[in-house]
Symmetry: C2
Subunit: 197 residues, 2 copies
């Protein structure tokens, strides 16, 4: 009995995982349920014993990722660290998520437009909220003179998108290690490209 439940749960997990990989590679709209079924190793109709619809798969992926980032943001917000350190920690969390949970984070970032209502509005609201919190940490840092006097929303925008560049790193051949990548990204974002001699 417990075995059956576990088996079913893991089959759904398998479907979500394969779907994330295919949505990342070809895009949500260009991935057919028949393609997905073949990858999973069953007939297309059988997918519907595990999931209700194609869109439900996307919802599961997007909101899993959103929850994980929101939880991390709450922990960071409430800590007593300096603003610049908070930002570094957020940055490192983004980088690690992008490295370790690549397919899902990528899909959640690029394919959320295909969500149906009311999930679409909900997701967009969470996104706006997350960025607002991020920007206000930066603003606190500016007030406390830890951070350069820049436009905070622009900085958030740069940071979030810069991290999504790991996409290219992820599939390149001759590449540096994950740790080196992380340190390089942090150094460039925090201290910039220019060398002060």
């Amino acid at each position: 009995m417990a075995k059956t439940v576990r088996k079913r749960a893991s089959k759904k997990e398998l479907i979500l995982q394969k779907a994330a990989a295919m949505f990342r590679e070809k895009g949500f709209a260009a991935t057919s349920m028949r393609d997905l079924a073949e990858t999973v190793g069953i007939e297309a109709a059988s997918l519907y014993n595990h999931i209700r619809s194609k869109n439900e798969i996307l919802e599961a992926i997007c909101f899993d990722v959103a929850n994980s980032f929101n939880a991390n943001m709450e922990g960071t917000e409430s800590s007593n660290e300096k603003s610049i350190l908070k930002i570094e920690k957020l940055l490192r969390f983004h980088i690690r998520q992008m490295i370790e949970n690549y397919e899902e984070v990528y899909v959640s970032d690029r394919e959320w437009k295909h969500l149906d209502e009311p999930y679409l509005s909900n997701f967009q609201a969470q996104r706006r909220n997350y960025r607002k919190k991020f920007a206000s940490i930066i603003e606190q840092g500016i007030v406390k003179n830890e951070i350069r006097n820049i436009d905070a929303p622009t900085a958030v925008l740069i940071i979030l998108h810069a991290v999504s560049g790991i996409e290219s790193w992820h599939r390149s051949r001759a590449r540096i290690s994950a740790g080196e990548l992380e340190d390089n990204m942090v150094m460039i974002m925090i201290d910039g490209l220019r060398k002060h001699s």
Copy 2:
């Protein structure tokens, strides 16, 4: 006679322009030729008097953008400026292209995966080549001690993706001016977030 030619050319231009806007908004795969036709104001079948296929539209968009960036790169490469200034100029070019030629640049960046062969391979090769040239300018700057000792490919990756963040700026309401955006982005990328007191 000349009038007819001009008229036809401009109708094709209109189709490409509307297509870019729709591909950006909904994605290439999720945009149907019937949607596009309606936006243009004709029947779907009539589109084929101006273009050969849906994929030909994407090819036109992607290679127009690629040509423009390649031309700018050649001009920058051959100049005698300092490396850090070359990078700043490339960065400013990217930002301006993203602001002024938003739909096309965005589509070329996110939807090129849907190109058919041999265009797909051709486009990917141009992309790799562009990044290689960008990285080698950074490496020259490191050698000349103008730039921090970072992994050059990682820096390219960050810069290119950071700029694509302008997507969010482009559609937000309360936003700073294009010039302020550009200066903020350049400052953050060149000198970083941290303030040195």
